[in-house]
Structure formats: structure tokens, C-alpha cells
């Protein structure tokens, strides 16, 4: 029945011509004939932008009014040569033409003028999971997506385990992709794409997806491509990724190459450009970290801090040293977590003013893994904490993650906020609970003042007091009398403390 698919058999596998991603993968490394892997010559790319409302059918028929377009040149005579094994970054502001250039190299867009030639098998990472079919299982999508990217069945067979492990979706591989979290979706897409084994890898802004863990993983994978002598062309706004991966960077501006050289110099020029031509511009401002991230496979539904069995009112200080219960409740939205490994719930207690994580723990660090609760059920993990921390405002971050795949289901920064008031005159973070003893033959100074009582922050009863007393002054009593050589111990005067000084 496949008449169209049979005819081309006569044309053969077409050896000797330029190979594309879909050609036979029998290319043993880049061809030695040309030092260049990618040659772009005078490439001009135009897009039609409709300038006005489109003509109605009536206007089309009665006035012969054609749709009017203005032409927009996305690339204006760009020339670029990339050597075999080179890693090149394309940077530029939005609309500078960098993605268009990448698509032309990939063969997705035709050259309107000029030419593009690529030597070797191309793999493009333009969009992860493009073409995934939600109703098909992960396994079926690996084969479908792999063949869209030009992989042969036997190549996918060989790489299958590696793809699944890289994406960390082994438990879900036979579930429909519709049920995947966005993180899993993207990881699977990335895993397939990097297993294409290309000679030329084209990447567009896909490194910025996924959690930190996955970004680390994908960056490492990209680096290994470069080290294996593959040609890599990267389009990114992430200048750190560019620095990490590419020695050469090309800056595009309004469809033309304005800088092409070592990454540091190009980035310096680029930052000069984006700052509106002012030197010494700082790097583009990073986006603020979202307070709540994760794939929401499990969601924290309630978190409360209880002191003595009740919830402190907003702003009500908790006494330092109190015992508190931090109850974290979460539930799962659907069944997709059921086959996954155990879940771990973690807490971080932070002092934002000091930019300090005071305390962090996870159930998994204590060997406690939670079975994912069935949909609709609520699981609660209670951390009993000894709040041996000092005065200050504290934030609690919560985390629900999968202990086996490290998939983050819900990371909620600053989920809770509480204030601790320590009556003891101490500063810092941790209540190290110092006991103070002094050895001073001259006793304490000045003898006139009395320390506040213990309940107002004064010294507590000192355990060593009886054993190692220090003689001191009594107001109006001569020193000689106090130091009675008869050995009779005078009553110790209270310890002297100045009025407490609080941090501003």
C-alpha cells in the first residue's frame, strides 16, 4: 500500500551527498574534506508580517484586494563558519535573529538568499518533547519522538535504557505521557534528543528548563558533547551556561553579526550593547526566584507550627528553647506517583536577615520514606523541633520530593514565618547555652548594681556556684572585711549585668 514509500528504494540510500539528521547514521565522524562543519554564506531570511487586517473574502473578490504584507528581514546577509568540534554560542537580545539562524542551520527554515551547508548528522534541541502524543505511553513516545529526530529503531532499542535512566522516568515509562509532570516531560524530551548521537548539535534555550539537578545533568551532557569533538551551536540567554560551554561566542543584533570572538570578549560587548551602549553595565538582572516550584506531583496543603499544642498568633514570639511541632501535610493530585519510589519531606529553617540556613533536615536523612498517599488522602509529617535558636525572624522552607528520582514535587520557600524571642541576653543564631563562671580574685564589678531576676533575663542559678565561689563586693563593706581571713564565706552578691542591648 505504501506506494510513495516504495518508489524511492530505486534512489538508494544516497551515499555521498550531504547528510541530514534523517540519513543513514553511517557517518564515521565528520568528513575530513572541509575544515568546517557549518558554513553559512550571506544568509538572508525574510518573514512576511501582515501589515493590516487581512482582506475579507468579499474584498478579495470584489476589489481584488490582496493581503498586504511588510517584509521583515530576520537575518541580513549573515556569514558564519564553524569548524568541526567547535562549540559556538549565539547570543543577542530578543529578535536579534539568533534563533532564526539556528533554525536555518537545522534546515527548518529555507534560505531566502545565500546558502547554508552542514557537514554531518544534525540533532536539534529546539523544543523538548515536541511531538509527544499525550495519549501514548512514555515508551511509545520515545520511539515516535526518536524517529521524528531521525533515530532508527535499532538505535532507539540500544539507547532505550540509557534514555529512560537519564530522564529518571523508569517507573512511569508505560504510563501515558499525559500524566507526566512537566519536569518529567522535559527530561524525557531532553534524554531522547541527546541520544541522537549527532555530529552537529543545535541547542536553543533548552538548558534553562528543569530543576537545578537536571540543569546540572544536561550541562554536563552538553559539555561531554563538546569534549567528544562534536560541533555544538548554542543559543542562550544564560551567559553562565555560555561561559561554561563555549569558547567562541557570536553576538547578533538586528539580524547581523556584530561580534564574533572569544566568549569573554563577546559577552563583554553584548552586555555593553544591552545596557544601551553604556560601558560598565552589570549583567542582565536575574529573574527573582519563585517562591514555589516543583512539578506538583505532590502538593503541600497545610503547614503549621505548634507550640505547646497551639498555633502562635501572627507576630507572637515563641520563647527560645521551646519545643515546637512543625506539621507538614501534603497530598497527591492523581495516581501517577503511586509507582514511584518513596517520598521525602524536608524542612529548612532560615534566618533571611543573615542569609543563613540554620537547620535543615529531611525524612530521608533519617531513613524515613513515605509511601505516596493515595489521591485525596493527606499525609502529615510532624517534625518536633527544639527551638534552641535566638531572637530573630525565621522562615521555614518546605520540600516534598521523590527520594529515588530526586524529582521535586513541591518546594515552597518561606512557607512559614515565626519570631523567636530569647529572654537570655545572647546574640547570634544558635542557643549554645553558655554557662558562665568567673575566676577573679577581685570579684565582680561594680558591686552597686543588681542583676535582674532570672525571669527577666538575669543569670540563672549557676551550677558551679557553690563549688567555686568568687568573692565579691558588698556595697559599703570594705574589701578587707569581705575577704575575711577567717574563711567564713560571705554571701555572694548577684552577678552584674548591664541592661540588655538588642539588635536594631
Amino acid at each position: 500500500m505504501g506506494a510513495t514509500a516504495q518508489d524511492p528504494r530505486a534512489a538508494g540510500e544516497g551515499t555521498g551527498r550531504r547528510l541530514r539528521a534523517h540519513d543513514a547514521p553511517a557517518v564515521a565522524g565528520p568528513a575530513a574534506t572541509s575544515p568546517f562543519s557549518i558554513v553559512v554564506a550571506d544568509l538572508t531570511e525574510r518573514f512576511r508580517v501582515s501589515s493590516d487586517r487581512p482582506p475579507t473574502l468579499k474584498e478579495r473578490l470584489s476589489q481584488f484586494r490582496r493581503a498586504e504584507y511588510t517584509t521583515f528581514e530576520a537575518l541580513k546577509g549573515v556569514s558564519l563558519q564553524v569548524r568541526h568540534g567547535e562549540s559556538v554560542a549565539l547570543i543577542g537580545h530578543n529578535g536579534s535573529g539568533k534563533s532564526t539562524l539556528l533554525k536555518c542551520i537545522a534546515g527548518i527554515l529555507p534560505a531566502d538568499e545565500g546558502s547554508v551547508s552542514v557537514d554531518g548528522r544534525i540533532a536539534t534541541l529546539l523544543e523538548l518533547g515536541a511531538g509527544f502524543q499525550p495519549d501514548l505511553s512514555g515508551r511509545e513516545n520515545v520511539y515516535l519522538n526518536g524517529s521524528i529526530l531521525g533515530l532508527r529503531r535499532r538505535e532507539i532499542d540500544a539507547a532505550f535504557d540509557s534514555i529512560v535512566d537519564f530522564a529518571g522516568v523508569r517507573d512511569f515509562i508505560d504510563n501515558p505521557v499525559r500524566n507526566y509532570s512537566s519536569g518529567m516531560y522535559v527530561r524525557l524530551g531532553f534524554a531522547i534528543a541527546v541520544h541522537v548521537q549527532p555530529d552537529v548539535l543545535l541547542v536553543d534555550e533548552v538548558l534553562s528548563v528543569g530543576d537545578a539537578n537536571f540543569q546540572e545533568q544536561s550541562l554536563a551532557r552538553m559539555r561531554s558533547f563538546g569534549q567528544a569533538g562534536k560541533t555544538v551551536v548554542l543559543v542562550s540567554h544564560d551567559l553562565n551556561a555560555v561561559r561554561a560551554l563555549c569558547e567562541r561566542t557570536v553576538v547578533l543584533d538586528h539580524g547581523a553579526i556584530v561580534a564574533d570572538g572569544p566568549t569573554d570578549e563577546s559577552i563583554a560587548y553584548y552586555t555593553y550593547l544591552v545596557s544601551g551602549g553604556q560601558p560598565d553595565a552589570s549583567e542582565p538582572v536575574e529573574e527573582p526566584t519563585p517562591t514555589r516550584t516543583g512539578d506538583r506531583g505532590a502538593t503541600v496543603v497545610d503547614a503549621r507550627l505548634l507550640v505547646d499544642g497551639r498555633r502562635p498568633a501572627t507576630g507572637e514570639p515563641i520563647a527560645s528553647g521551646a519545643s515546637a511541632q512543625l506539621a507538614v501535610s501534603f497530598s497527591t493530585a492523581d495516581e501517577r506517583l503511586l509507582p514511584a519510589g518513596g517520598l521525602t519531606v524536608g524542612i529548612v529553617v532560615r534566618r533571611p536577615d543573615m542569609q543563613l540556613a540554620v537547620y535543615e533536615t529531611r525524612t530521608s536523612w533519617r531513613g524515613i520514606y513515605l509511601a505516596p498517599p493515595r489521591p485525596g488522602a493527606v499525609a502529615t509529617v510532624t517534625f518536633t523541633l527544639d527551638l534552641a535558636i535566638l531572637s530573630g525572624e525565621y522562615l521555614v522552607d518546605l520540600l516534598v520530593a521523590n527520594a529515588s528520582t530526586n524529582a521535586i514535587h513541591d518546594r515552597w520557600l518561606g512557607a512559614l514565618e515565626f519570631r523567636v524571642d530569647s529572654p537570655v541576653h545572647e546574640f547570634g543564631v544558635a542557643r549554645l547555652d553558655a554557662s558562665i563562671g568567673i575566676t577573679n580574685p577581685d570579684g565582680w564589678w561594680p558591686p552597686e548594681l543588681h542583676a535582674p531576676p532570672e525571669e527577666r533575663g538575669g543569670p540563672r542559678e549557676h551550677p558551679l556556684r557553690e563549688e567555686r565561689p568568687s568573692p565579691g563586693y558588698e556595697p559599703g563593706v570594705p574589701r578587707a572585711e569581705l575577704l575575711d581571713p577567717s574563711g567564713s564565706e560571705p554571701g555572694l552578691p548577684p552577678m552584674q549585668l548591664r541592661d540588655p542591648v538588642r539588635p536594631a
Binding site: G2, A11, E13, G107, A130, Q133, L144, S147
Partner: protein, 277 residues
């Protein structure tokens, strides 16, 4: 970008993609429905029942000792394959815009995979309804090669037409809406619910050139001959027979020409799909 020269080899190399896409179409289509695959068999039977009630009871198409249900079914399966293929292909390029803008692959695989998955449904429906033909029209194994040959020509013709509609819809989006009307008119200009001899009537005669110019008439006639036989208004309807040479020639001509034109047109327009979808 020497896209044209490497086309045929590239297409051959896309066969695994094509196979995966066809498998996807077949799997996805009936996902979640209780009868699943059976629908490709049940639907034509139900439609046949409706048309039989209308055209053999209310309106009474004269067919002698012939059986209207088998006559209708032998033409309707052909029509349904053609119509479903082209109608699903019209939006194939525009509907997959996200993929086309992001990944390079042979664009033909999109309409071709839809046609091939419909061809699977067609073949299954033909198999499933074969008892009806055996019972009413007798066992005629000598026409089986004619059915296979006709099937190949029909798939070629449909593939070409699907490519034309899919490519044209990128530049002229109104086509997607127009297609429904076009296909309704096309259906009535094809002798599916009426046997061709009804066009001998002096009034209907005027439309005969239009019906004969319609390629689907010839494909339907080819399957009428091989599955039903020759419909006559009264008396004995002759049993299934090998289609005549004229039908073969016209079908082959349409198949080759449409596929050729569709392929060339599609590839010429395909280079700019990524810009326009």
C-alpha cells in the same frame, strides 16, 4: 539547501517515522472508546443500514434482484477512505505547526501517515464486511487481484490529493472549512448511493460528463465491479467481475497524475511551511 535532490532518499529514510506515525494514528484514534478498533467496522455498517432504509425502502433505487446494502457498501467504503484521508490531511500541516517550526523532518510523512492509517481501516472494514459480499454476491476469488490493484491505485490517488489539500491549506486556511462542503458535493457526484445506469435518464444525462470527469467515479466503479458486479435496474444483477480496461486506465492515470502533482506541489510549498504555520 539542496532539498529537492535528496528528497526520495530522505523519504525512504523516513519510513520508520512513517511507520511510527501510522501506529500512533491507529493507537490514538480509538483510545478511551469502549469498542475501540471495532468502530472502523461498525461505522460503515451503521451508515449502510441508514442508507439502505432510505434508498431501498423510501426512495427505492431499482436494482432488480440485487442487494442495495452490498451495492452501497462496495462504493461507500472506497468513498469513506478517500474522504476521511483528505479531511484529516487538510489540517495536518497547520495542526502540527509547533512540531514543524521546531524539528526538521520530511513533511510528507504527516499526510502520508494519515492516508496509510485510513488505508488500514479500509482494509479491515473490507475484511469485516466480506461475509456480506460472499452471502449476497457469491464467492469470486478471481477478482481479489483486482481489489488489491485497485486498492494500490486508490491509495496513490488519495495520497496525492491529501498532499494537495494539506499544502494548499497552509496558504489558504479557508480551505479547511470549505472542504466539508466540497466533499458533500463530491459525494453526490460519485455513484455511491445511486447506480450509474440511473444517469441514462434524459434529465440526469446532463450531469453525466461531470460524473465521468470525477476520478472518484472510476475508483468507485472499479470496486463496484470487483465486489458487487454490474448493477442493472431489473432482473438478474451480473455477479462480481474483473473491471474493464477503460476503468483500469482511467484509475491508473488519475493515480499517477495526482500523486505526481501532489508530491511536486507539496515539496515546493514544504520549504516554507515552517515560516507560515
Amino acid at each position: 539547501m539542496a532539498v529537492g535532490t535528496a528528497s526520495l532518499g530522505d523519504l525512504w529514510n523516513s519510513r520508520e517515522l512513517l511507520r511510527n506515525l501510522v501506529a500512533k494514528e491507529l493507537k490514538v484514534r480509538y483510545k478511551g472508546s469502549a469498542l475501540g478498533f471495532l468502530w472502523s467496522l461498525v461505522t460503515p455498517l451503521l451508515i449502510t443500514a441508514v442508507f439502505t432504509v432510505v434508498f431501498a425502502t423510501f426512495i427505492r433505487v431499482p436494482l432488480g434482484d440485487g442487494n442495495f446494502a452490498t451495492f452501497f457498501l462496495s462504493g461507500y467504503l472506497v468513498w469513506q477512505f478517500f474522504s476521511n484521508s483528505v479531511n484529516s490531511s487538510v489540517g495536518a500541516i497547520v495542526g502540527n505547526g509547533a512540531l514543524i517550526r521546531k524539528v526538521w523532518f520530511r513533511r510528507e510523512v504527516l499526510p502520508v501517515s494519515l492516508v496509510l492509517s485510513q488505508a488500514v481501516h479500509f482494509a479491515l472494514a473490507l475484511l469485516a464486511t466480506s461475509p456480506l459480499f460472499l452471502w449476497f454476491r457469491g464467492f469470486h476469488p478471481e477478482t481479489i487481484p483486482a481489489l488489491l490493484g485497485g486498492f494500490v491505485l486508490l491509495v496513490m490517488f488519495t495520497t496525492g490529493m491529501s498532499m494537495i489539500f494539506a499544502a494548499a491549506n497552509v496558504g489558504f486556511r479557508d480551505l479547511q472549512e470549505l472542504t466539508q462542503v466540497i466533499f458533500l458535493a463530491w459525494f453526490y457526484l460519485t455513484p455511491v448511493i445511486y447506480p450509474p445506469f440511473l444517469l441514462d435518464d434524459p434529465v440526469a444525462q446532463r450531469y453525466l460528463p461531470v460524473v465521468l470527469a470525477n476520478p472518484m467515479t472510476w475508483f468507485v466503479e472499479l470496486f463496484h465491479a470487483a465486489l458487487y458486479g454490474t448493477p442493472v435496474p431489473s432482473g438478474v444483477n451480473p455477479p462480481p467481475l474483473w473491471p474493464d480496461a477503460q476503468t483500469w486506465l482511467v484509475c491508473a492515470g488519475w493515480a499517477v497524475a495526482t500523486l505526481g502533482i501532489g508530491y511536486v506541489l507539496f515539496n515546493r510549498l514544504a520549504v516554507s511551511f515552517a515560516k507560515e504555520v
